[in-house]
Symmetry: C2
Amino acid sequence: MPQYKAPLRDMQFVLHELLNFEEHYSKLPAFKDNVSRELLDQYLEAAADFCENELSPLNQTGDREGCKWDDGVVTTPAGFKEAYQKYIELGFPSLAVPEQHGGQGLPGSLGTVVSEMVGTANWAWGMYPGLSHGAIRTIEHHGTDQQKAIYLPKLVTGEWTGTMCLTESHAGSDLGIIRSKAEPNADGSYAISGEKIFISAGEHDMAENIIHIVLARLPGAPKGTKGISLFIVPKFNVDADGNVLDRNGVRCGSIEHKMGIHGNATCVINFDNAKGYLIGPENRGLNCMFTFMNTARIGTAVQGLSASEGSFQGALAYAKDRLAMRSLSGIKAPEKEADPIIVHPAVRNMLLTQKAFAEGGRALVYLLSQYADIVEQGETEEERKFADNILSLLTPIAKAFLTETGSESAKHGVQVFGGHGFISEHGMEQIVRDTRIACLYEGTTEIQALDLLGRKVLQTQGAMLKDFTKIIHKFVEANKDNADVKALIEPLAVLNKEWGDLTVKIAMRSMQNPDEVGAAAVDYMYFSGYVTLAYLWAHMAVVAKQQLAAGSSEVDFYNAKITTANFYFKKILPRVRSHVDVIEGGLEPLMALDAEHFAF
Amino acid sequence: MPQYKAPLRDMQFVLHELLNFEEHYSKLPAFKDNVSRELLDQYLEAAADFCENELSPLNQTGDREGCKWDDGVVTTPAGFKEAYQKYIELGFPSLAVPEQHGGQGLPGSLGTVVSEMVGTANWAWGMYPGLSHGAIRTIEHHGTDQQKAIYLPKLVTGEWTGTMCLTESHAGSDLGIIRSKAEPNADGSYAISGEKIFISAGEHDMAENIIHIVLARLPGAPKGTKGISLFIVPKFNVDADGNVLDRNGVRCGSIEHKMGIHGNATCVINFDNAKGYLIGPENRGLNCMFTFMNTARIGTAVQGLSASEGSFQGALAYAKDRLAMRSLSGIKAPEKEADPIIVHPAVRNMLLTQKAFAEGGRALVYLLSQYADIVEQGETEEERKFADNILSLLTPIAKAFLTETGSESAKHGVQVFGGHGFISEHGMEQIVRDTRIACLYEGTTEIQALDLLGRKVLQTQGAMLKDFTKIIHKFVEANKDNADVKALIEPLAVLNKEWGDLTVKIAMRSMQNPDEVGAAAVDYMYFSGYVTLAYLWAHMAVVAKQQLAAGSSEVDFYNAKITTANFYFKKILPRVRSHVDVIEGGLEPLMALDAEHFAF
């Protein structure tokens, strides 16, 4: 059973040495006086303690036990409720909520770092408090003062949780075709009716009330995405002071039997003339939701990083311990009946792949959380706009690339264990099952890829991409004479240029046929992901070299960074070549076969 | 719930048009008079009927219900036992067993084709009769006449089943370190003691007796792989006429909770002074086992093909039915509220990938089964030797490559379903879970890769590889002026040459450091797999073109073959480039990091 250990040293490396979070906060008026490096480290320690000792032990038991549904009532696995109470007592739910709403006013980026630990220790559990964020932010940004006063206080303390009710059985990626209805009541509220599915944490026993944010159509609303409105629908009706009254017409019809995240209740929620309250303008529900799309997607990117980190921790411990065969280059552990499997190059390749994705993914997620801070709290419009561009570009990359590579890492975790990896007790197969959903929800990998190439890159005529490739270009220029990292900087420079050229090529093609965008998008996303991580790995290597040159005593730590960067460039980055060649192949091979002739 | 439909037309294409099985059988004395095309087709129809109507409906229920263990007794899921009775009544167990042992004397290749259908319909079920083959063949080839007379008749009818008991908790890939003991009894039998794990179908309620083939050490046996002997250990002792007597000291200690194949019992089997009988020479147990390694591994390769076929069938039906978004190139189904998702290039890419792996994998597996027939029944020593070389080379490729691509296909199946893919009722996530084991058992992907590059290619100084690349070369030469398939033949010719060059490069390096073999092996296996399938796809395209030129009325079928071949060359085959580049990166990036410095 893998016991989670928060990788604090590596987190601190990214926060303090790579991305200089203290300096970053010092430039944001909201945080410059209240977030020091010491405070950050204190929160890290507290979160690590909670995640290692409270959440990690519930990860496998939660998977085995799962949630139970009985006539609309959902019971979470043993210990989940108690852990949630502790989480509330420790004040985690209110961490990144502004003080005027009862929060601690700390940066969202700190919340992201905490969510990595929560997610790696126990993703299924983490989704209960995790889903509340979307509801809180929706009400915070689009609610009336009264709505804020009624719902926010208890959501912020964690006494209540929240959900996002979007999907219907026939409508997932395509929300334009949802059918749930909202009929106006005489008192200004609405009667919400319809069936929502895949509602994570939609019903459970951990909180006094659940506040659903629901997409539905008003009578006579325009068809498609421009006729969807957003409603607050509480499980229990509440009075103006936030006291819980009678039960609303909201019922959990069933919970799904699914591949993983068994500890989290994935609910069918039936709204039967439930009392709801319009939030935001009529028919603009999707726009309100999209405000938080980036943050929700970064949250899912964290799941990919978590899978890489968790499976790496499990596989590394096993690879040092398990004995099998002798090294091809001669016996390494003569006192044992066989060598530990970490001597075998194929095993090392899997471990280093996990490590490169975990640490590289961490750098990417934390970088995005910085940009998200700036979007929210940046001093000037220009800063905010620039950060929003980078964030918009990198979010679908991080979401799709880190969840897919997280799945790959989880697969390696099983593989390092051999046949034992298939057995539940070792916990490695659970990571494969749990993390698979990350490639599906919040927009599948294919949807992210289209968002990246279609909306973010081509629709802006490459402007967002240029903002980012310029950052890489500057980094390359600043380090081009650094002999220490030449082997990294040179290929990075080439790929950074190729990113633009490849984009132009696809743009030209897509003018002939817009389906060329769909044909290229997934491979383009992978290309972008590998190059983005290459930039971050080169950057980490440069920082590590600097620390060594400055005489740091942590020689092994920094050398490991440099070694892993070299591994990434030699053994992972070459994958871009195939993606470029596949893009080269274009649309035709995908469309030549008539739908009726796929099978006979 | 996906209903399996045997792809009979495609099977017949491979059997009759691509590989000319009738001609193949006509050259084998054992089969030339008793296996016609009509007989083959009759068996296919019978197997399809059984698999579609008896096994497929039990696939999801078996997964949900799983096996139950109670004090050493294992109960299989509802319906499994009854299906097994029907399977026996239909005579399937004895299909490919020689007539002198009570079998039908049909070719092993026919058994392979049947096993594809069984496996795709219900892999977990298929392992109960599947595991018997190893036991039957071990006794057939290495047993005394008395042992054959006692054990074979009921194993062949299927009244009894068999297992292979190799793995121990500490010893999986490395069988040299097993600890189970065999002490001689006064009566010439042996007292077998030890604990074996991961024994598929090790205990169940489907047969009267279970015959275990067990690896154990004699007293004073040499250490390592040269001190292991093989024993027959029946669950119930039997008399000389094969009547079941008292219970032997064999007990199922528990069954594993695992990622998939829940319908199959993966058993811990405890031998406590169980009565066993030496089979084959003392200390030569592993050699006896290795005789069947190729067939067992082809059996596992079938699981990969099954995963590709099964997930393709499920995803294709869904992609034609599910509506979401509009095609980027304009509305395709104006009468519907959205287009079926098969219009989207990314969805088509996943479907075509599954299709290319399923149909290409089928061609590879059936080709191997032909060589296996020749190894067993070929008329001349020369034929048999040549076939054995090709089989030895291609088996680790088929096992590793088809199981990994089967896993990939299964992943695409989930992805095509979006969030619904994660939900158990649709059956797509089950394929991911069930097929994961195929990359682990019968030697992991990494072990297969070492077997391929180390034992089969480098240890033979490339002789086996040359035998196969010559076949490809001949094919290329025969078709180089065929303008119809130029786009396939040219890249195939280049890659076929590169295969040899790449091998020489690795061989040179490995002389400096044998670990270079381990560093290159997995990528070399992928390279080999993609090129092998490229050859088969080009071959299929040539055959399809010939049929069209000959005026076949099945224009859509043959065009689909050609289209899929083009897809494979344009969209799958470019993956070789990255594998070559990664091999280029060599050993150093994998070994530079000290085992103690992987994490801090």
